[in-house]
Symmetry: C2
């Protein structure tokens, strides 16, 4: 016996659990085979063969060829047909099938095995026209897909032939004409390739299989994988299946059906059927398919069999099925089944119904819904009809979901003015900074030319629930002339565009939007999720309004309040600027005192909204120069207020300039230099907390010190905070529950976590910065080259979106182990954007974090992802649909 590695599996040798090896389609065909369903038999060339092919110089290994040959002999035996023979020829389809469904992304060849001899047999057994029609289709498909011959050569020749013959419809051509066309196509092939069309069926098969392997690398597949986070390394399997024909007359046909309605989730067969046709006719839209119900009337016994088997499949897979079937001369065949794609609304309905029907347990139902799909339920969407007809002028990173239409403005001030005039505004900028907050607040959508998934615009937009697209590098924006170009069009200030933050698409016109409907199912389902998860879900938010929204979405506290965001409002920023540009400690203290009043009011409002839930407040984090005036007008205003000259202010402002602000004078480094800042913020927090408690609101502030890399600097700032708090609380009758802890966002802090934990009551992983520093990768600048990394398969996923479990994750593990060693009950959370990403949440569950925190609109996603992670952990498995 040949002991070579097994690369080829008959359907009967596999099963549904072998998805990684056989691909989704192959595994399901194997499973259907085992269930005894009527399927055309065949075999699968595994994903390992694909990897072998792609990593060994794109040569099909001899061992693989041999195994294919043997499988083909077995298939001939099963079908009682002979491959490539002139008697009773076996024809096969050759289709891709990867682990994850990638519909239409890769290549397929039908009717393979036809050649000048077998086509004759087919003509004799069935029908001449049918046989040669199939042959000419095969020649063209094989030439196009496998041999890279331009298919327009065939299409043009076919059109000319029809003109000459005086016919308009294909069906008007008779058998003789089809023979001529097939001959003509072989000629075109020979002209293009310099050799005859291959008559050897095995050669056709080898070539077709390799073409499918190569199609894993085509651009469609590349884009699809990227959007769906499918790793390049998975590869695709190839399914070789004996052909059945739905176009053998009126007792034949083909169809596609879902076992439930994929839009609404209603429990009723939903699908389409076409008499006397092949699958491609349905797809090509040459004839309009009929509702599946027609089959019921025309072929009641076939319909009954189909319904029974569909229910059997659904019950077997415990999920709604998307099935392709063919009826050949009255006999039903299943060509494929898979778990069907569905809207979020349908997903919830189906999950709940299946629990009620007793098909699924609640745990199974929870695992069935992709958490990311919940996003659809919370944001407005474009009217689907308008969307179908709209031209996409650009596409970039979908940074914050939802659809928006409006007039473009390029500065925060212009956006606010337009909003005041009642216009709907899309803010378009190269990038945003905290000073743009006013314009961002009034915008219906935000579009930036630069930045990645965790750039300023993305973070703020997600917090506000505003649709946002980032890193649209094709935009050429000119602030001076107030216009930009994209997709060959120029947009002036005030022109309309539309944008879909869920897909990253930009449209050059106004499109109508509609609100998504939230059903009662959502509440039921999320309640189940909450009952099953073990991690808390908190939110990252800076305002009482968005805190209130997060509460509605189920947040159990605030994991991150960026106190600095409160300083950008028009009445506060000059005071902040005065504070920063103070030349003496006295000046600074006076400015601090004014700011404190604002801060206190902000915190009080948030405490009142959160009403007893924990509220984590991060002390001032960004480099001070972010707050400084930019324009001459702003400098002049400030000069008047501060009683200084513009020159003085500009000089001082220039001194604050930093080469790498992300690694500069920020975070607790500011508090080390100016302890009065930490003191001021602590006073505001504690005084607000006392005031809230006096009116009967329970308050649980958690004061968070950012950017720690060493216990000594942490302790220095902690001491300032603690002493300030104690001094205020000394005069207070009641007790106040509060904690002081730190963000863990610098690699060194992870390594020093044992020392830091001796002083810190909690750790909150700031995985945005931790990822930046661990990779040495600025999130503001990576947009420029991250595409190159994805194109070259260096990044399978963007680590700013999906937590890098190997590198950053190891640092987190180290931090947790060392932190817990020093303080066993230390509270652990995550407040980076990864806290809203399902695969990262699953990792957090494995790490044993107490909570994840994310932007308000991601809270439901996090709740479900946390439930799935907890269930998977209990079962000792990974979550399947984490993407």
């Amino acid at each position: 016996m040949n002991q070579a590695h097994k690369y080829v599996y008959m359907f009967s040798e596999g099963n549904g659990a072998m998805r990684n090896l056989l691909g989704g389609k192959g595994a399901n065909l194997a499973e259907m085979s085992n269930l005894g369903l009527p399927i055309p038999q065949g075999f699968i060339v595994s994903t390992e063969a694909c990897t072998n092919y792609n990593t060994s110089g794109r040569v099909l290994d001899n061992a693989i060829r041999e195994q294919i040959d043997i499988a083909m002999v077995r298939l001939e035996y099963m079908t009682e047909k002979r491959f490539g023979c002139k008697e009773n020829p076996l024809l096969v389809s050759v289709r891709s099938g990867s682990r994850a469904s990638m519909p239409g992304m890769m290549d397929t060849v039908l009717n393979l095995g036809l050649n000048d001899k077998s086509v004759e047999a087919m003509a004799k057994n069935i029908d001449t026209r049918f046989a040669y029609d199939s042959y000419r289709r095969f020649i063209m498909m094989f030439a196009d897909v496998v041999m890279d011959v331009d298919k327009h050569l065939f299409e043009n020749a076919f059109r000319q032939y029809k003109e000459k013959a005086g016919v308009t419809q294909d069906v008007e051509l008779n058998g003789e004409q089809m023979i001529e066309i097939a001959e003509m196509f072989k000629g075109i092939y020979k002209d293009a390739k310099g050799e005859d069309f291959p008559m050897e069926a095995k050669e056709q098969l080898y070539e077709a299989i390799q073409a499918v392997f190569r199609s894993w690398d085509n651009e469609r597949a590349f884009i699809y994988r990227r959007r769906h986070d499918i790793p390049y390394s998975w590869g695709t399997a190839v399914n070789v299946q004996s052909m059945v024909f739905g176009n053998m007359g009126d007792d034949s046909g083909t169809g596609v059906a879902f076992s439930r309605d994929p839009s609404t989730g209603e429990n009723a067969i939903f699908g389409e059927y076409l008499m006397n046709a092949q699958g491609e006719d349905v797809v090509a839209g040459i004839r309009t398919p009929l509702s599946i119900d027609c089959l019921k009337d025309e072929k009641p016994e076939v319909y009954a069999e189909f319904i029974a088997l569909a229910k059997k499949l659904e019950a077997h897979y415990k999920d709604m099925q998307d099935m392709e079937f063919t009826v050949e001369r009255g006999k039903l065949y299943f060509l494929q089944t898979r778990n069907g794609k569905r809207t979020a609304q349908a997903a919830l309905r189906i999950a709940i119904d299946m629990v009620n029907e007793g098909t699924l347990t609640v745990e199974e139902a929870l695992l069935m819904v992709d958490p990311r799909s919940l996003d659809q339920l919370l944001h407005p969407i474009f009217d689907p009809e308008a969307l179908n007809n709209a031209d996409i002028i650009g596409k970039a990173l979908p940074a914050s979901p939802g659809a928006a239409s409006g007039r473009v403005y390029f500065t925060s001030q212009d956006a606010m003015d337009a909003h005041a005039r009642g216009e709907e505004v899309i803010l378009v900028r190269n990038e945003t900074s905290p000073e743009d907050i006013g314009g961002m607040q009034v915008a219906k959508g935000i579009l930036t030319a630069k930045g990645g998934a965790t750039c300023h615009a993305a973070i703020v937009a997600r917090d506000m629930g505003t649709p946002c697209i980032c890193g649209c590098e094709d935009i050429k924006l000119d602030y001076t002339t107030k216009q930009f170009t994209l997709g060959g069009m120029t947009f002036k200030e005030g022109d309309y565009i539309s944008m879909d933050g869920s897909t990253g698409k930009v449209f050059g016109e106004q499109l109508p939007t509609v609100e998504s409907k939230i059903t009662n199912d959502f509440a039921i389902f999320m309640k189940w999720a909450d009952e099953h998860r073990t991690m808390e879900v908190r939110t990252n938010t800076d305002t009482p309004d968005s805190a209130a929204r997060a509460l509605e979405f189920g947040a159990q506290g605030i994991g991150l309040t960026r106190s600095e965001h409160m300083f950008f409002e028009a009445d506060r920023i000059p005071k902040m600027q005065r504070m920063i540009l103070s030349e003496t400690k006295e000046e600074r203290l006076a400015a601090c005192d004014e700011l404190r009043a604002f801060q206190k009011a902000d915190y009080l409002a948030i405490f009142n909204v959160m009403c007893g839930l924990p509220v984590t407040i991060r002390l001032l984090d960004p480099p001070l120069h972010e707050f400084l005036p930019k324009s001459d007008a702003e400098f002049e205003t400030l000069a008047k207020e501060a009683g200084k000259t513009v020159e003085e202010l500009k000089k001082q402002s220039a001194m604050l300039h930093e080469v790498n602000p992300m690694m500069g004078h920020r975070g607790l480094r500011l508090a080390v230099s100016y302890p009065e800042l930490a003191e001021m913020q602590t006073r505001a927090i504690i005084e607000a907390a006392i005031e809230a408690q006096k009116t009967g609101t329970r308050v649980r502030p958690e004061i968070m010190i950012p950017l720690t890399f060493d216990v000594k600097e942490y302790k220095f700032v902690k001491d300032v905070v603690e002493e300030t708090a104690k001094a205020i609380l000394a005069d207070y009758d009641g007790t106040l529950e509060y904690m002081i802890g730190t963000m863990i966002e610098i690699p060194r802090a992870c390594l020093m976590a044992d020392e830091i934990a001796q002083e810190a009551e909690f750790f909150s992983f700031g995985t945005n910065d931790l990822t930046q520093m661990t990779y040495g990768l600025s999130r503001d600048d990576a947009g420029k080259f991250i595409n190159d990394y994805i194109e070259h398969n260096i990044f399978e996923t963007d680590p700013t979106i999906k937590l890098d479990q190997k590198g950053v994750g190891e640092l987190m593990k180290t931090a947790i182990a060392r932190g817990r060693k020093a303080r066993p009950n230390i509270k652990l959370g995550i407040c980076g954007e990864h806290g809203g990403d399902p695969s990262s949440i699953e990792f957090c569950q494995k790490l044993g974090l107490d909570y994840v925190s994310c932007s308000p609109f991601r809270v439901p996603i996090a709740r479900l992802a946390a439930a799935q992670a907890a269930i998977a952990q209990k079962r000792g498995e990974d979550v399947a649909n984490k993407g």
Copy 2:
């Protein structure tokens, strides 16, 4: 028995090895006591007591007080005197004494124990004038040092008394007058403090001890520790020693002597002596001391005893001794001995002599010299006399050693123009960037207002051997008016300043410099070092000239050639700019081709200089926008050359702007986006290598890929390099030995080292960037707040200068362990600036690196430090003098 922790030690209870606990002075007194030398007896309050005092709210613990009391009773018994009594009173000195010698940095109180009663006894036993002179000195010293009373109050009153009494010299005052002055001083004390001068000797003692503890925190001590890298946590011990008096008449005296000449190292007693005087008279310069030889003539028997004991001490400590002694009424007392400070020249001479004398082994001699002192031997210094009279107008980070005088210029161009006119130039800038290279090359010295020890200016200056001072934040520089202010003075373009890159001092005038002399001793000593070290020492250099200098200094190869530095010369930069601003790959390839010719010539020149030694060439590293034109004039020049408009170029240039360039599009990320860059550089390297070999020069290029964080990106670029090299070598008859490896400078690379090592033949730790990323601390921006960190004792040393062994070091250990696991023979080196720092070099030895690489002038330091580290490792100890 009281089992309390022991805080107080009689001299007889200690020994010389107890330096950490007893301080250097205390340990040496204990050792001398054990050796039977004549010393005034006493006891030591340990450094642990200091830590206890400073960390427990500055209260002297009762247990410590009790132990002091007991020690004092024992001292009374030994001296047969009574502390604070009117009969035969015991007087003591109270002095600081930390682990490391910190001469004059902390406080001392003499004659303690004097009060109204004991002074009477002293007057009766010795002399009234002597007694009350001592008393008034004690009152003033105690008031000043211990009780924080302004000593000018005493000095002014004393001056007025002398005026009134009509005398000019202190010695003209008689005993009665001294009594009056002492009374007057007690009155001043009472006015200032609101209470009587303390008459209780024990109270005086407790207060004085606490004052010494507190003096660990004074500013002088702070600055000294910082300069000498002495950790704050060490604390100081306090020595309480019975007084002896050199001012008891002509058979008394006091002196200071070295057992060898501290300037030249000559083996001859060197010192000064003053008859009938106390130590402070010598220091105060009231009387001019005599050469120690005078003692030989005047008190031959005392001199002989002194010489014998000095030799005994030197032999005992195996090092040149710096001794204080007093002769009281003909009896010799040693007050202190310590290893003497010396010039580098003397250090080498003494070490070599002691080996020749048989006192030391070569290993011991190697361990005795501080590697950092070798710097003195290589750079010019200021004429010491001129230096004494010069005013220091500013002081900042000594970034590259050596003295320089010249006229100030503020732009690279102005500096080059002035140099062309024959002027000596000091380049003064806020900070430098690669485009300043021209001005830096012609400058005698470089002074910057910003930046730390590893900023651009510092690195380049060290490479060029040019004196450099960085981060002089007090400089207010105005480029438009071409002037700056510092230390209250304004300097216009063309004005003279002087600067000492070894001390960080800036002078507002022209000072003459002299060359240091290198003796034959240097060669002998460095040969010994080379024989003892196990690590290779390489150099970081970019030019053939500086490579040649590094060879003279003993470099065994190049550990880092920054290929980009070659692009900044006037004839190359426009080509580089064209390459960067190319809009198509074709344009870029054409520009690359021109650059390749330059690169090849550069590499060839370096290969020829290095002649068979390994040369590590790092591929292009900095963000591209560093190379772009800055001024309008430069843009116009480039526009003409490139056939584009200034506007186009400015737009493209703006697109290259980065928010955090240190974490942006740089390093191998450039090669991922533009593989043609790596290809061009590889071609230049390999072609140059072949050309060199053809002329008979052996060549060993090591191609280094910078900024790796993942094996996949490394492999992508490595494949480009390897394929390019193989293609060229395919046409070459001979064989070329070359390696491809990577810098390890990103935290994630350390964690992924096992995967990376599968593809990389060597690792070179880029600890500058690794420190930046591990701390999240930009070296260009840290200057602003790093002082706050040192002042608050958060940083004991600056991690950009001295490797952070805990955090960064752990990552290095991880990288080495994982790298070796994957590739056991992987070559390991360091090319960050830490490669020239002795304590970091010792750490590298422990890590088992194959080589360290540093700037040319640091090569001798590294050679000695590596030898010391190897010896210490063999002995299983740490190097003592690593600072």
